[in-house]
Amino acid sequence: MNVATPAHTTNFLLSVEGLTVSFDGFKAVDDLSFYVDPDEIRVIIGPNGAGKTTVLDLICGRTRASGGSVRFKGAELLTMREDQIVHAGVGRKFQNPSIYEDLTVFENLELSFPRGWSVFGALAFKRAPDVVDRIGEVAETIFLADLLGEKAGLLSHGQKQWLEIGMLLIQDPELMMLDEPVAGMSVAERKKTAELLNRIIAGRSMIIIEHDMGFVKDIAHKVTVLHQGKILSEGSMEKVQADPRVVEVYLGH
């Protein structure tokens, strides 16, 4: 799309370079660089306070970086507004399920459908058959097809997590960022979620923050270990697990 991209970014979907943010002098993320390939599932792990969630916040525009660059398909994200980053093709799921509790599952998905983003677009928005079909399709994928009429606030914790994944899915982002998608889920729900993620990976990349090592092993193509805002280790799960520094600060505990 963008022909004038620098050579070093062309092969990656997302290139994070020298990303830094400090809160009152404390560097939560410190000169961080990493690259995500198309169709890659990247998992970020690390101890509490390592800056994992902050990295996602920086990429999706929720927190403003103090320095560095985040390029997505060659476009700089750091200067964009949150909604523009979404339009560029980056979706974000939060750690606590963040859904519209007063609306039904159907309405939650409908609001996430990528149409009618402007005020007048929204005023003119119609519940067209293609919208309804797509919502049905996504609801099927996230195991909520029978609950479309239910108020989202009445769903179980696991179902809320799925709903939020579905809200991302319906946007069809090229990069999906999930913050602890299986936190608080039962073993059976975790299995289903891993299945779900493996099913929706086609044609997109993911960055996932997760603590559950079994789950990470199941899905990760590549693992990045963060510690104190810096990359401690990066590579395949086996390589990371064998790294003595990782064992020291994270896995050993």
């Binding site: 909604d83 974000r92 519209y100 402007s118 005020v119 097809a145 239910e150």
Partner: protein, 390 residues
């Protein structure tokens, strides 16, 4: 692809809402005109003008979570635009022959203003005035909205700033006496395009115009609430961040609903001027602005119909209390508001939903049994037993 069962038809009204609209229309257009004299009906016409503001607040505050304590500003701007036209019509050179500068409003003459200021000139035109009644307050709301919402000022801070704007506007109007009529406001308004608005018949006609315009606003409000924008406002109220990350520029939607609320208030203000015959800073300052929020709270901030009843009831109670207990009425009003906040925070509409509606439903069932009709078909059972989606 199978079509999911829960893609409800997007109808403008549910049957219950339609009944609510019809009942309100009956009250406003039949019951009140038939049961009170012209003087009281004119009072109710005045109360109706506040209902415009309350309906706008249901959209802003109830649906969108934007609490404005400065709706009096928009009510007042709409009212002043109308008052300027009426004042110019009342200030014909013949009527003002005794002034040192005939043909300009009396308060200008008293304040040694010798020519009509340029920004008064367009208000000689009725068409321009009708346009300005809505455009001026809406444009002002747009400026405030852009300044506040794109900077993500919200909640209590927004409420305080709107309150401050109400104070500033009042001070400005009082200070610019020669151009605005100062603290007395614009009084002695007589005719609208030659039609004497001080007569009982004119006031009754204006009452019906207010009622009709109120219903126009109610329909617009209903349409917005039932559409995607209405659901987005609820979403913004509950999970503003999530809405941003679903690709919406939240500020634009807040600006839109704030402007819509301002436009409603402005229409109410213009009708106030027509029915009451004057407009003054005391109608639009801090206290009236807070009262407007109270109308909305008493009626129920989630219900546009409730807000209309709230405006009518609170104002009516205020009039009755003040006639019966001139020294005590403000305490009575204060007590009423405390009772609302403590005992039924969702207002009259909330009381209706929790007490009247279930009984009505039971009554309907019993009637069916008495008439030997089969009971209503049971709703499909749900795992959680929750009410079905609207």
């Amino acid at each position: 692809m199978k079509t999911p069962a829960h893609a409800p038809e997007q109808k403008l009204f549910t049957p219950a809402e339609l009944v609510g609209f019809v009942i309100l229309a009956t009250v406003i257009f039949i019951v009140l005109p038939a049961s009170v004299d012209a003087f009281r009906l004119n009072l109710f016409g005045k109360y109706l003008t506040y209902a415009f503001v309350a309906v706008g607040l249901v959209l802003c505050w109830g649906a969108g979570g934007i609490l404005s304590l400065g709706q009096g500003v928009f009510f007042g701007l709409g009212g002043y635009c109308m008052a300027m036209f009426l004042k110019l019509e009342a200030s014909s050179p013949e009527n003002t022959a005794i002034q040192s500068t005939p043909g300009i409003p009396d308060f200008m003459d008293w304040n040694q203003v010798t020519a009509l200021p340029w920004w008064w000139e367009p208000f000689n035109s009725f068409a321009f005035t009708l346009f300005a009644v809505i455009a001026v307050p809406t444009a002002f709301a747009f400026i405030i909205g852009v300044a506040m919402f794109t900077r993500r000022v919200g909640g209590v801070y927004f409420a305080i700033i709107t309150q401050a704007i109400a104070a500033i506007l009042t001070i400005l109007i009082i200070g610019q006496q020669g151009y605005t009529g100062g603290v007395n406001g614009m009084t002695d308004l007589r005719t609208l395009l030659g039609w004497d608005i001080r007569t009982d018949s004119a006031k009754t006609a204006l009452y019906f115009v207010s009622g009709a315009l109120l219903f126009v606003c109610l329909f617009i409000a209903q349409w917005v609430r039932k559409g995607k924008v209405g659901r987005l406002l609820v979403a913004i109220r509950d999970q503003e961040d999530r809405v941003r990350f679903s690709g919406y520029d939240v500020a634009n939607f807040k600006i839109f609903v704030f402007c819509l609320g301002a436009a409603f208030a402005a229409v109410g203000g213009a009708m106030f001027t027509l029915q009451v015959g004057f407009m003054s800073p005391t109608i639009i300052g801090i206290v009236p602005s807070i009262m407007m929020v109270i109308f909305c709270a008493v009626g129920g901030r989630l219900s546009i119909l409730g807000a209309v009843y709230g405006a009518l009831l609170v104002n009516w109670a205020q009039t009755v209390f003040s006639e019966l207990f001139p020294q005590l009425w403000q305490f009575a009003m204060g007590g009423l508001f405390i009772a609302v906040v403590m005992l039924f925070p969702m207002g009259l509409a909330g009381l209706y939903d929790s007490h009247v509606k279930p009984r009505l439903a039971r009554l309907v069932r019993e009637m069916r049994v008495l008439k030997g009709l089969p009971p209503e078909p049971a709703r499909p059972a749900r795992a959680t037993g929750a009410a079905p989606a609207e």
